[in-house]
């Protein structure tokens, strides 16, 4: 009868073959993630943001930034180069890693940080979403710093080459087959208009997560220390908020003398569904208007 030693031996071989397969599949995914065709669009954005930017104005934020600010408008009105670093679903940990990486190469003139609730409210997947950074874990120290925040186990998981591309298979296939043509210096316009009645949100203020808030503090501190002008923006949303959810953030930014442009309840946008793609994102028309407003404000200060 077979004994436990047989089982251990087979488990060893299983782990060995799994390791080989993992390395092989991971290498193929890595190749296609970083191919030229793939680099023409979204997956390049992260590589470009971390390793190649040289623009004067950098826009940080999640999807509200990604679809909300048109670099060309900033470039035309301020006569400076601009790149939109916004990435869907990302939070302050991600922004911090990217900023850190940028500052190791050069100092941009203006940092525009678009904040949403996810940047200072605790959610169940605060660190899962950082998986977008996994392909850069071993090549970028700033990435390692934030990916390692949840604990030691991530260091081991990421040894798997395939795991670094977990959930990205479709993304890699899509971008290698159909590159996006609508990508404009990091900005991706949303073309449709929202057709929905405005909603009133009577929710209370946010409960701030101390860890996220400390990274927001570190983000701003690093940028200022490097000599960048920092402007924080809250993008408009198609809804009426009965309470100012950003009051604590406003006080904090006020204390450290950072300008906060809060468009959340700006009447230029609210009640105008033609400026929105959905309740939290402006469409291309809304993005142009929002960028113009921010650019005007920046111009008056320069």
């Amino acid at each position: 009868m077979k004994g436990i030693k047989d089982l251990y031996k087979k488990l060893f071989f299983f782990i060995f073959f799994l390791g080989v397969l993992d390395f092989g599949i991971g290498s193929i995914l890595e190749h296609f993630y970083f191919t030229e065709r793939s680099l023409l669009n979204e997956s390049n954005k992260l590589d470009y943001s971390l390793n190649q930017t040289s623009e004067d104005i950098l826009i940080f934020g999640s999807s509200t930034a990604y679809h909300g600010y048109v670099p060309k408008i900033f470039e035309d009105s301020l006569n400076m180069s601009c790149y939109n670093m916004g990435q869907n679903l990302m939070n302050i940990f991600y922004h911090y890693a990217v900023l850190n990486s940028v500052l190791q190469r050069y100092t941009p003139k203006i940092i525009l940080l678009d904040l949403t609730a996810w940047d200072f409210v605790k959610t169940g997947n605060d660190f899962d979403i950082l998986s977008d950074l996994y392909p850069f874990y071993f090549s970028n120290k700033s990435v390692r710093e934030v990916v390692d925040i949840p604990g030691w186990s991530e260091k081991f998981k990421i040894l798997s080459k395939t795991y670094r591309y977990n959930g990205k298979l479709l993304f890699i296939m899509k971008h290698n087959i159909i590159p996006s043509n609508d990508f404009q210096k990091g900005y991706l316009p949303l073309r449709t208009e929202l057709k929905e009645d405005i909603t009133t949100f009577a929710s209370d203020g946010f409960v701030y997560d101390s860890l996220k808030f400390s990274y927001l503090d570190k983000f701003i501190g690093k940028a200022i220390a490097a000599g960048c002008k920092v402007v924080v923006v809250a993008a408009p949303s198609y809804g009426i908020y009965t309470k100012n959810q950003f009051s604590e953030l406003e006080n904090f930014l006020d204390e450290i003398n950072i300008e906060f442009l809060n468009f959340r309840n700006d009447t230029t946008f609210t009640n105008h569904s033609e400026y929105f793609y959905d309740i939290t994102h402006v469409n291309s028309t809304g993005a142009e208007l929002l960028t113009l407003k921010v650019a005007e404000r920046l111009k008056s200060q320069l």
Partner: protein, 478 residues
């Protein structure tokens, strides 16, 4: 530490290595220590509660056995039941009852509020309490003898593969296995590892991936169309199956590796052709527990009412099942829906069988498929009450929207593609097990290349499209 945590991937192999190194006499002691270590890692304070329930169970079963007069025995038994149930009632139902009674009295102008406790539910309490109750009842009914070794009772109630979410085991099945000086069984250990692998696939690739899509819809139901809500409603049973089914397989697999057999929890539930058959395939350990300790005694005492006695017993049994699942009106309604559907099933069974025989429907594939689909849809709709959302008003709003709002479907392409990859594989596997159990074998194939190819493919799929650091197991909240 939960099954999906990285710590468990270190803990479990370490347990296995030490378990088989130790002399057979000490293995149960080591398992007890490992089980408490496992539970302490999840809930340090509530470990005392687990130890308390264990102490009560041990003392009262011994006391019942030593008592000779029937009346005294019954009193001790009832006291044991009350004491065993007290923590569950206190942590799970106090706030719900408090609020419900307050709301009821307020209607009559009586306002005597008690403070809301807002306590966190100790994880696994519903499971180990039911195991303790089953043991107490079995000893009282003299189905088994009270265990003299308190360590074995403690291990039964804290056994790490099953303490958090079952399967709800029976003392009669477990005591003898813990005490037996089992030798290493290669086939059983391999079978256990296969179950663990498939369990992780069900949990990480199907349940947790679907959870991303479904929670986006159910937690923002007001912003989603009826079409999206209908689609989510139809997918939710698969998420629960992947979640609890996956957990159960990992639990059974872990126990198998240690040479211990655990009762199965699922038997390809979506191939059921009626709701009564469905409940013989879904969450079996809970249902058999309820049948043995609730349904059978009630239906026996109501036997003079014939079929209506069965109806009352079914309604009461599933009412308790609903209450067990959660201290909320939604779960009670869910339980009552199951009871009502099963009662209708029982009342119409004779007619259905006549029709099926007259037209030889049972041999027709399209009839089987139709019945499976109807059963699935009934269960899926009932599950809107059974955990998909947390209030009756929201549930009714969702059902209303499903029938009135047919706008476009919310698509999250990558989540849906990955989820359906898993779902298709799961259904193919269940289909094979249901209709061709001896064909198209993968994990059990005699050809080593096919067998190892299957192990490695499933492992790579888990790494590639599984959701790591995902949500907890759904049944932890129960």
């Amino acid at each position: 530490m939960v099954f999906t945590s990285f710590n468990f991937l270190i803990f479990f192999p370490a347990v296995i290595v030490i378990y088989y190194i130790l002399p057979k006499n000490f293995r149960w002691v080591f398992l007890l220590v490992a089980s408490y270590f496992f539970y302490i890692n999840i809930s340090p304070v509530y470990t005392l509660l687990l130890a308390g329930v264990t102490t009560v169970t041990y003392l009262f079963t011994r006391w019942i056995e030593k008592t000779e007069t029937e009346k005294k025995k019954k009193l001790i038994f009832l006291l044991g039941i009350i004491l065993t149930l007290f923590p569950l009632f206190f942590f799970k139902y106090f706030d719900f009852l408090n609020q419900s009674i307050f709301a009821l009295l307020s209607v009559f102008g009586l306002r005597w509020p008690l403070p809301k406790l807002g306590l966190l539910l100790p994880v696994g309490i519903s499971f180990y309490t039911f195991m303790a109750l089953g043991y107490l009842i079995d000893v009282y009914n003299e189905n088994i003898e009270a265990e003299k070794n308190p360590g074995i009772v403690a291990l039964f109630l804290s056994f790490f593969p099953i303490v958090l979410s079952g399967p709800i085991e029976r003392a009669g099945n477990m005591f003898s296995q813990f005490k037996a000086k089992t030798i290493f069984n290669y086939k059983k250990a391999v079978k256990g590892l296969q179950l663990i692998l498939w369990g992780y696939f069900m949990k990480l690739v199907i349940a947790d991936r679907l959870a991303i899509y479904l929670s986006a819809i159910f937690s923002n139901s007001e912003h989603h169309s009826g079409t999206s809500l209908l689609f989510a409603t139809l997918l939710y049973p698969i998420q629960v199956y992947g979640d609890l089914g996956g957990y159960s397989l990992i639990a059974i697999g872990c126990a198998n590796v240690m040479g211990i057999d655990i009762i199965p929890n699922f038997k390809r539930p979506f191939f059921s052709t009626s709701m009564s058959e469905f409940w013989r395939r879904w969450h079996l350990s809970l249902i058999t527990w309820l049948i043995d300790y609730v349904y059978t005694p009630i239906s026996f005492s109501l036997r003079k009412f014939k079929v209506w006695g069965i109806v009352i017993a079914l309604m009461l049994t599933f009412f308790i099942s609903g209450v067990w699942h959660g201290a909320a009106l939604t779960f009670i309604i869910w339980g009552l829906i199951q009871g009502a559907v099963l009662s209708i099933d029982a009342l119409l069974r004779g007619k259905r069988v006549n029709i099926e025989n007259r037209y030889a429907l049972k041999n027709k594939w399209w009839y089987t498929l139709f019945c499976c689909m109807i059963t699935y849809v009934i269960f899926a709709f009932s599950l809107i009450f059974g955990g998909a959302v947390d209030s009756v008003s929201k549930t009714l709003e969702i059902i209303g929207k499903i029938f009135t709002d047919s706008q476009s479907l919310f698509i999250d392409d990558s989540t849906l593609v990955y989820s359906f990859t898993g779902i298709i594989l799961l259904f193919l596997s269940d289909f094979r097990d249901e209709f061709f159990p001896d064909k198209f074998k993968l994990f059990e194939n005699e050809n080593i290349l096919i067998r190892w190819g299957a192990y490695l493919s499933i492992s790579i799929l888990i790494i590639l499209i599984g959701v790591f650091n995902g949500g907890q197991f759904i049944y932890f909240q129960f």
